[in-house]
Symmetry: C2
């Protein structure tokens, strides 16, 4: 899986969501049809899919269900990765209850907050614990991903704390650039960039 480029990897969920929306998933589909449906280039789609599922058969293309299975496997949706959220404000709470994460193989075990008033335990929802319990919780629960939804000025110290607790994959929603040592990956949910792309379209 390491050989897939980050840009190709970003496109895979788009292929998957497109295939899952097809009214009839029983047959085959060509790379050209997928490219047309998504407004992407033919060659790119062919190359991306070759990397995960081998070549489509000439004239018949890819079996849709097999391609869905291959995409879900490569994307890790068939395995489960434990995650915690730091910052149980509005965004953190929204993400805690985002139903699609389970489908993506992401299991939110708990959230943590410095504010004792936000700490709670409601049946059917992930609990919110005091931040002081983070270290013990991460150690005991094989947490792999830390999701940062604290304000910008607290994000770096939260990031440092996650890394100290052996979390090497950080998903950062705070609008700030985070520094982390080599071997740690920080994925920025860069809302500012999305707005820039939209505004640019309007100007």
């Amino acid at each position: 899986m390491k050989c897939i480029s980050p840009n190709a990897l970003r496109r895979l969920p788009v292929y998957l969501s497109y295939l899952k929306q097809l009214p009839d998933r029983s047959g085959n589909i060509s790379a050209t049809a997928i490219a047309g449906g998504l407004g992407l280039g033919d060659v790119q789609v062919r190359k991306d899919l070759a990397g995960i599922s081998g070549e489509g058969k000439p004239k018949t293309g890819y079996n849709i269900q097999n391609l869905i299975d291959a995409l879900e496997t490569v994307l890790g949706y068939k395995s489960v990765t434990n995650a915690v959220i730091i910052g149980a404000g509005r965004l953190g709470t929204a993400l805690m209850e985002y139903p699609e994460f389970k489908e993506y193989g992401l299991h939110i075990l708990a959230a943590f907050d410095i504010d004792p008033e936000r700490c709670s335990s409601t049946p059917g929802k992930p609990p919110v614990y005091p931040l002081s319990q983070l270290a013990v919780f991460c150690r005991d629960n094989a947490v792999k991903i830390g999701i940062i939804t604290v304000p910008a000025d607290q994000a770096q110290s939260v990031c440092d704390r996650l890394v100290e607790n052996s979390i090497h994959a950080i998903w950062n929603f705070a609008p700030v650039h985070l520094h982390a040592k080599a071997g740690v990956t920080v994925q920025n949910e860069n809302m500012a960039a999305s707005i820039a792309l939209l505004s640019n379209h309007l100007s």
Copy 2:
């Protein structure tokens, strides 16, 4: 501004947030220093910045404050773009109150929901109106961007409705591929892709 590539445009907010975090913004900074601080390539940073601010001066580099101003202008942070949110659930509500949007020049005027119980008007917060009022509101308020935070199965019909009301920039948080006519830009906040990139780092 149209000549900046989408990939370059995505990096500009990262440069901006990096520059704004510098403890001393009074002096100059070289492209090499920015590249080093962000873990990017020297040539790429130089090229990106040349597109918005001209060349840095040999040996002295860029004046930091001028570069911040140039980035903010190009990114549209110095102008204001009106937006509405469709779907006043947890994610929609979180975005309504996301304080950084204002800084990015995005002005959330109101949210809309099909559920009458979610419709409300609280001083200091954007109001939530019934979806039936969308058309009149968009026409009267020069709305430019529509933000979709409804469940996946309702996202396409909401997108169609926004486009019918002359909204040509859509920011989609629903985990689904949306179709829109030529001239409409759909920016997907692709959380699935972010998770894939993180999971890939772990595997």
